[in-house]
Symmetry: C2
Subunit: 148 residues, 2 copies
């Protein structure tokens, strides 16, 4: 079996982000991986769904829960192109996802801005940041630059 690495899955999350970009949504993408396999994908659909809660992570987690028929995802890894916001960090906590990998940081709306030294995820969750950081950040910068 081919074993994929974090960059491989982050590229898949970037594909989702690109889809959001193409639809004029803030370009954030996410994939949920289990046993080396993508079980759910999501990209930001706040505009399309007219729903402020329709972030990539929320959609991907809901989709993964549906796929698994389970409310908890204790064996999953979530790849996100951007540092999760407070809402999405809470969703990650509740779904018990133990591995979180993100690309670009979000100093304004990322969880770190609010929680400070507090850890919003599960106590044993492992966080990895900065995977394909430049590509993830470039897409977001391009989006907001075009908006101005």
């Amino acid at each position: 079996m081919m074993v994929y690495d974090d960059e491989f899955f982050m590229r898949q999350a970037l594909k989702e982000a690109q889809e959001a970009f193409d639809k004029d949504e803030v370009p954030v993408g996410a994939v949920v991986v289990m046993n080396n396999k993508i079980i759910a994908r999501g990209h930001n659909q706040v505009e399309l769904l007219n729903d402020a809660t329709a972030h990539a992570e929320i959609l991907a987690i809901t989709s993964a829960c549906n796929y698994m028929g389970a409310k908890y995802l204790p064996d999953a890894t979530l790849y996100i192109t951007l540092e999760p916001c407070l809402m999405c960090s809470g969703a990650i906590y509740w779904s018990k996802i133990p591995n979180i990998v993100f690309g670009a940081s979000d100093p304004k709306n990322g969880y770190g801005h609010y929680t400070g030294k507090n850890w919003p995820f599960h106590p044993k969750a492992i966080l990895k940041r900065g995977v394909l950081e430049e590509e993830c950040a470039a897409l977001i910068k391009a989006f907001f630059k075009a908006k101005r």
Copy 2:
């Protein structure tokens, strides 16, 4: 026009919480009010939907956005029987709900546990706590007591 007060709307949120209780869900309820009228209701459906993100507030906010055809709810008041968790506080932030009223406190999973002195809601949002606190808390206590 009859003008309803916070207790009136919190009783409606409690009705939602009772519905959750009757379906063996953690009994939390929420209503979204605009111009003295309930535009959306929600109760916790984590078990039914097998989705860790299906909290009362997320469902009520999504429903209110659908009803309004808008991603922001800058004139709404959200009534919740329990202090919102980090995820739901984030959802309230993104939806720009400026008035938040909750009943019982949640020292374990409430936003206050994580954010400390930081304010996770919109800078101008107004928070009121403790409306029908005892009734809201009693329902949750009864639920977890029955589970043991």
